[in-house]
Symmetry: none
Subunit: 210 residues, 4 copies
DNA sequence: GATGAATGAGTGTTCATTCAT
DNA sequence: GATGAATGAACACTCATTCAT
């Protein structure tokens, strides 16, 4: 791989033309498929290109290197998660604090489960690429959404909603994947969701009381 | 790397003689140093051996694989964490539930911080090696210790202390590393510890009330 | 080497384009040269590639393994031998039994001598790769050709031409290389050929008489 | 391996003392066992030493090289073969030419079959070590024995018994192993023996007639 | 004499990346 | 723009051999 040097994080060309967009999408899709079926270790640019039905050369026309490709995939995944949380928060303005926790946990879990196969691999990519910056950005983005909801909660009155939101977001992005690894049966998944909801709700209430 | 096949998880020979023990220790230490200074990607057996002041051959005399070596390092790290939690729990029998959360979080965080540099890398190793089994074992081991403490708590009376312990352990092993990534200043670390403690304590109390 | 697993016996891609064909040929030629000049033990993929004027990577683009490469060379050699025998048999339908032996021996010997330098090494490859199957196939192929000629011989009348053909083919592929080792001067070669011819002819006549 | 340099062909010390002899024998036996069970490729000095119940160091006390060890094993095997032929020839002075062929073929085949498992491997060793000299010596030794018998045959009268003996010996050492590879059922073995005997006998008679 | 820990050169193989066509 | 053949640095791992104990 050879990381360490400055990363070009975005596709080389903004693909405006239809053919380009289709190609880029095919490459994205192929990457995810290879990741799911062969694993990160066996993912290599040739394989991705073949699965995408293009040549390696073409792949390199759109992504400066393997890193950039993986980074882009991670970016997409995190955007989906953050979007899910924002949707959950946006849908419920003026809610009771009681329900915030549940809504957020559910939204995140649902989004994760949708790509359950991929999620651990993506976390590995995040570490491999040292993509803390990207993750931090996403966590902060989610934290902002949560903070807004907390602030507008009917029975809010938190001293420092920002801190709470940060804590929750970090716990979410950190804990849930850990739970995902472990979850096998749907029953376990439901129980996990219940416990996480309880934990988050009681955390919020603890801060609310004073 | 070449994964997929059964892993020999233990050193090839039980190093009884003094020279052997010293060699194995040197290799362990070198692995951690290389991990910290060069990162997992740039870690290769030659480099580890050189840093340990031995030859590659010697390294392979004690570890069947690169995988086995990394696995062993991970094993050690997790053992330290689990030990820290057990100590914290064992030290405080008959405590108030209030203090359990704090003790556990503090113990874990302190142990993690001691190898802060290493921790993210070790989690990556865990994924790379698909060492879920090992992690699960460790989480369960910690859960058992926590459960014991919860059960013997003066003001306990939990319906299902096992479930609580499991949740806490999973959240601990999942969340704290996520926090570690983010923590830079000691001040942040202290704040993180405070919030986690609050979260865990309120989670326990929530279950206790009914 | 690392044998034991299923062998991919054919080049990875069917080299249709001119450049590819040239490359594959160069690799073949280089393998033979290295085999002749350095011996099997010192043959390694790097050396072959260098001698072929290509990079190792290119070599591995056309041959999955070192094994596959050697196997292909052996395949070629055996095909030449079998072809020589078939030609000799096909050229002489309706011959006297007397001349069959001579024709076959001469054809085989000439083909062997053409690659005299290589022949012992190739037999070693055969053992190294456990290519008995391939050799058996070749021997059988030659036996079929000999049998056909024996059956169509004017003064034939053999009870079991198949058995005779098998014996001759086996003796040929087994004995001649043994002779080749020993042969140094052309004079010796001629004498060897004479004696082998006599042996084969008298063997055939012995079966014919009854 | 690194061949090409002058070979020390004999054990370093002439093992006179009982313990030494036992050790050398154990190493010999171990070598053959490893050869049979693991194959030449996986034979390495450590494994041999372990199987022999001694340390590598000890092995190297008696054999200068891996080569020397293998060479010694080959030497033993060939000595057994040559001995068998000499016995067969010596047992039958003043025989009919008719029976010489049969006796020789039978003797050789019997000796080969006794170590059938090993024989192909040994031929590979011969090539690996470039032990033509040793084989030539053995073939000549057998040729001498055969020549003596031919000369003393009642109905002999060969023009050049030496040439005949050479041819037979070469055919024997060359062909029989080739047959051995192919032979599976005892029935096949018997048929092979019959055909070889016929071939050799008719060859001798062909030379006798004029 | 015996031991076995240590050595390190050597080899097969992979794969990100380039560039002539 | 697209192709895919070619590159070659990099790495995991083996094993004959030595030598301090």
């Amino acid at each position: 791989m050879g990381n360490g040097s400055p990363l070009p994080l975005t596709p080389r060309k903004s693909p405006r033309q239809g053919r380009s967009i289709a190609t880029v999408d095919a490459i994205f899709e192929a990457t995810i498929q290879v990741l799911a079926s062969d694993g990160l270790i066996r993912l290599n640019t040739t394989r991705v290109a073949r699965r995408a039905g293009v040549s390696v050369g073409t792949l390199y026309q759109y992504f400066a290197n393997k890193q950039a490709l993986l980074f882009a995939v991670l970016e997409r995944h995190l955007a989906v998660l953050a979007g899910a949380i924002e949707d959950a928060c946006g849908d419920n303005p003026l809610v009771m604090v009681e329900t915030v926790a549940e809504a957020v946990v559910m939204a995140y879990l649902r989004a994760q489960m949708a790509q359950a196969e991929l999620s651990p691999t993506l976390y590995r990519i995040a570490l491999e690429l040292d993509a803390r910056g990207l993750i931090d950005l996403t966590v902060r983005r989610s934290a902002r959404a949560i903070e807004a909801t907390l602030s507008s909660a009917i029975d809010g009155g938190f001293a420092d909603p920002g801190l709470l939101a940060q804590t929750l977001a970090a716990a979410l992005y950190g804990t849930v994947p850990a739970f995902c690894h472990r979850v096998l049966s749907p029953a376990d998944g439901i129980e996990a969701q219940r416990q996480l909801t309880i934990m988050f709700r009681s955390y919020l209430l603890a801060h609310q009381r004073p």
